[in-house]
Amino acid sequence: MMTIDLNRVGAKGAIAEEAEGKWGMVIDQDVCTGCQACVAACAMENNLSFVGEEDAGYGRTQHWIRIERFWEGEYPEVKITPFQPMLCQQCGHAPCEPVCPVFATPHSNAEQLNLQVYNRCVGTRYCANNCPYQVRSFNWRDYHTEPDRGNMVNGQLVFSLHNQFNPDVTVRRRGVMEKCTFCIQRIHKAQDKAKSEGREVEDGEFTTACAQACPANAITFGRMDHPESLVSLLAHQDRGVKHLEELNTLPRVTYLKEG
């Protein structure tokens, strides 16, 4: 496996991590249909709050994964660029990490992921400013408990939508930054299960919510440090590109180009 000496390429004091990382994702833009199933699946798995029309208009939506597309050309020679699901790239050398004054965006050495510790976060939003992928979203309000989402039952405000919350995932409050975690709760479940059975986590044993839902099978998640895993094989195709690689962020998500 290739290793990049980050100190040699000029990133002083950087966490010298293997370029590939441990967990990785491959997204095939040739088959992604932009259907938003991953976005909905992520929202349901990770207790994302919806923000309503007005806040959505201000760009405050809590999409941990969003589907980008751009217009190219003019009618009739107009195209929509291939749908591009954009999510936290779990950078090996993440610009969001060093700017947090309270260490709420630490790097996990065990998982080689970018963590988000919600109750350390004091909401400076430096990390979001410094993220070149613009994938962090901030809780501008306590969206989950906005009074117009509940019903008065016997003098108490009851939020029936809260019944759906995933107990494995923190419900974030106002003033906290959040982002895609690669479904870390699923990673931990799978690892604990494997450990109790005295083995390693197998490739394909579990996957993230987005990959699980995707009707086109455009998203593949797995161990990048296993050269024979599906995600490794896909990532090393000729079509594979990484976004903003020139920033030396060492992204863990590989995109497969159209064509």
Partner: protein, 729 residues
């Protein structure tokens, strides 16, 4: 003990206490301090109990996708696809994922209600015993021909129960309807299949194995027929075969989400899709050599070029691709068929498949197999059949109307007059789960459980070649005082006695479903087998249904397909306006997604608009009319008018405007009501030869209102500062 402890005594006691604790517990000095631990052990890192998983069937549309629902402590937490269900093979669409926001929606009908056609939900309670009596009396005291059942396209077990009831007592068969089937033009597709392939029903297009795909307005990646199955087929077409990448060409006047994935998008004049299919047929036949089949003999290619706006070079280039392809496939879709000449278009496109000899071959066209306990394909009512039904209501031919699983006041265009027709029906009983427009216009609402709280089964109309029955079971205990409609009908029939009780001699809904499954016990080649019905039912629930392991590949006969001379009448457009009007079903909301907040917050795949309705207009056209983004315009047709903000859409013909269907509710809960507008309000009563609505056959005028309303879009967020990349125009 003294009530007064001096400060000195207190300190003595406290010190002694602390020392004792330290000795007894054996803890070191650290225990004397409160340790402030960072909350690193978040729920993500801890065990919070075990989950239970149940297999069931999605009810957000009628495709019959299997679900596995994760539940914990009696609450449904997450929906996943059932990996063994042949329709969706473990996958779901966004609407399936958000079905939990229906289950736990804060606006549900929570108890049997005397609604009295009030504008808002009355919450005026009725006891279930009284409700059963009301249904029993309605069935008993009404002339049989004047009882009417209006059902949605799901679930099928209720349709079977009502069909059995109606035929046993001699009442009219239930009418099924859904906006999706209207916009899919299912009646037209079925009729064309009957005319050209010799069997009514929805053909199965084997996208996965095709190498050149021509889609004539089929939005198969959005809501068309069975979107999860067709998306899988699309992905396989593109990447399933390492030696080739399928080539995909879409013919439609507006670039839909599906067309955005096409290699070539051909923006032809609306209504000329069939002509182009015929011209391509002729050119392909010429390229292949030999005699030109009768079907394509009469078409004049030059005339097609003039009328459709597709150049001769383009047609020849596509014809050459098709002629050289190993497995070309042509798909006729909803909007091409929702024209006055829609049936001819469907026939022309299906004949194109016959010409390329792909009928019954991999990558070609098959007849969808019937479900294991199905006698024939029961298609939903066409729009024209709905007008007959409404006419009967208006003429006083319906004295009692039962409505389940459909919201015709919203889903049918206003011009149909369903709303007014309800006024001529003395008793309307709704079984709605949500307070939708039709439920509010009813006398009583006897709410059914949500789909995830229900028993049942669904027959996928298409999407797999394995004959199958997708099973549903409750994954959680019902949240409210609701009751299964099948149980209500069975109990009411027992209460009424006589012929009615004989027609439904069941203990309950599950008893009825078991009766329907009985014929499958012991059948060979099934996904499981069981010796007797109770075991069978248990497996049926556990596996989420029953299906045959082998595919039933029914090849249609090509003999009659090409012998018939096909021609195409010019499409007729109703109204005076200068724009062709193209309503399309919102890919994220579908027909009934508007009350689910996370579906509202999903950006539309092509415009990225959330929480609203918009009108798509070509930027050049808008510039000429001095219309900008977010300007509210009035869309006026011969049938009515609606207002919507404009989205300048670069990929639409300058003479076409398009608008998504799914919003514009006046009821249906807090997340849907009063939001956006409904394009169906401007659709007039025009039909094609198969009786489907010519919904893409309207012309409209666009009038500025002088107001603006900013649309919330995702795209302006993209890019570093301010307005996003690439949306400048």
């Amino acid at each position: 003990m003294s009530k007064n402890i001096s400060r000195r005594d207190f300190l003595k006691l406290a010190t002694a206490g602390a020392a004792t604790t330290a000795v007894l517990t054996g803890c070191g000095p650290a225990s004397r301090y409160v340790v402030r631990e960072p909350y690193m052990e978040m729920p993500e890192y801890t065990y919070n109990g075990l989950s239970t998983y149940y297999a069931t069937t999605c009810r957000e549309c009628a495709a019959g996708c299997g679900l596995i629902v994760r539940t914990m402590q009696g609450r449904a937490i997450k929906v996943e696809g059932n990996a063994s269900n042949p329709v969706n093979l473990g996958k779901t669409c966004a609407r399936g994922q958000a079905t939990l926001h229906g289950l736990y929606n804060p606006d549900r009908v929570e108890k049997p209600t005397k609604q009295g056609r009030s504008a808002t939900l009355t919450n005026d309670p009725v006891l279930w015993d009284d409700a059963l009596q009301i249904v029993a009396d309605a069935l008993n005291n009404t002339k049989l021909s004047e009882i009417a059942f209006l059902l949605g396209t799901a679930p099928d077990h209720l349709f079977d129960l009502v069909s059995d009831l109606a035929s046993a007592i001699g009442a009219p068969a239930p009418v099924r309807f859904g906006a999706l089937s209207m916009f899919d033009s299912r009646a037209t597709l079925s009729k064309a299949s009957e005319n050209i392939l010799g069997q009514a029903g929805l053909p199965f297009f084997d996208l996965a194995n095709a190498d050149v795909v021509l889609s004539f307005g089929a939005n198969f990646l959005e809501t068309w027929l069975s979107p999860v199955a067709y998306t899988r087929g699309f992905a396989k077409m593109r990447r399933g075969n390492p030696k080739r990448r399928g080539h995909f060409i879409q013919f439609e006047s507006r670039m839909s989400q599906t067309a955005a994935k096409a290699d070539e998008w051909i923006p032809l004049l609306p209504g000329t899709e069939g002509l182009v299919a015929l011209a391509l047929g002729r050119l392909v036949a010429e390229a292949k050599g030999g005699a030109i089949p009768r079907a394509f003999a009469s078409v004049n290619v030059d005339e097609v070029v003039t009328r459709s706006g597709v150049s001769l070079e383009q047609l020849e280039h596509i014809a050459a691709l098709v002629a050289q392809a190993q497995a070309p496939l042509a798909i006729p879709g909803g909007q091409a068929l929702g024209q006055s000449n829609g049936l001819q278009t469907a026939e022309a496109v299906i004949a194109l498949n016959a010409l390329t000899e792909n009928l019954g071959k991999p990558g070609g066209v098959f007849l969808s197999p019937l479900a294991p306990n199905e006698d024939a394909y029961h298609r939903p009512a066409s729009a024209q059949e709905m007008t007959d039904f409404i006419a009967k209501m208006k003429n006083g031919g319906v004295k009692v109307l039962f409505v389940h699983g459909v919201n015709p006041v919203f889903e049918l265009p206003k011009s149909f007059g369903f709303d007014e027709a309800l006024g001529s029906v003395p008793l309307v009983i709704s079984f709605a789960t949500f307070p939708d427009e039709t439920a509010l216009a009813s006398d009583y609402i006897f709410p059914d459980h949500h789909g995830l709280e229900s028993w049942g089964y669904q027959r996928p109309a298409t999407g797999t070649m394995q004959p199958m029955l997708s099973g549903a079971q409750p994954v959680v205990v019902p949240s409210f005082d609701t009751r299964a409609t099948a149980d209500v009908l069975i109990a009411a029939a027992q209460l009424a006695g006589g012929k009615l009780a004989e027609a439904l001699p069941f203990k309950d809904e599950v008893d009825f479903i078991q009766g329907k499954l009985a014929s499958l016990v012991g059948q060979a080649d099934g996904s499981f087998s069981a010796p007797e019905i109770n075991t069978f039912t248990a497996y049926f629930q556990q596996h989420g249904g029953w299906w045959r392991n082998s595919q039933e590949e029914t090849a249609p006969s090509a003999a009659s397909a090409l012998g018939k001379s096909l021609h195409l009448d010019a499409a007729e457009f109703a109204g005076e306006g200068e724009f062709f009007f193209l309503p399309f079903v919102s890919p994220t909301l579908g027909e009934a997604g508007a009350n689910k907040p996370w579906l509202q917050e999903l950006p539309d795949p092509t415009t990225t608009v959330m929480w609203n309705t918009w009108l798509e207009m070509n930027p050049e056209t808008a510039h000429e009319l001095h219309i900008e983004n977010d300007d509210v315009v009035r869309i006026v047709s011969e049938a009515g008018e609606v207002e919507a903000p404009v989205y300048l859409y670069p990929a639409i013909r300058p003479d076409v405007v398009a608008m998504p269907f799914g919003q514009g509710h006046t009821a249906y809960g807090r997340f849907a009501a009063g939001r956006g507008s409904n394009p169906a309000d401007v659709l007039g009563l025009h039909f094609n030869e198969a009786g489907d609505l010519a919904f893409a056959g309207m012309k409209v005028k666009i009038e500025p209102t002088g107001r603006t309303q900013p649309l919330s879009r995702l795209e302006s967020r993209i890019g570093v500062y301010g307005e996003g990349l690439g949306e400048e125009h």
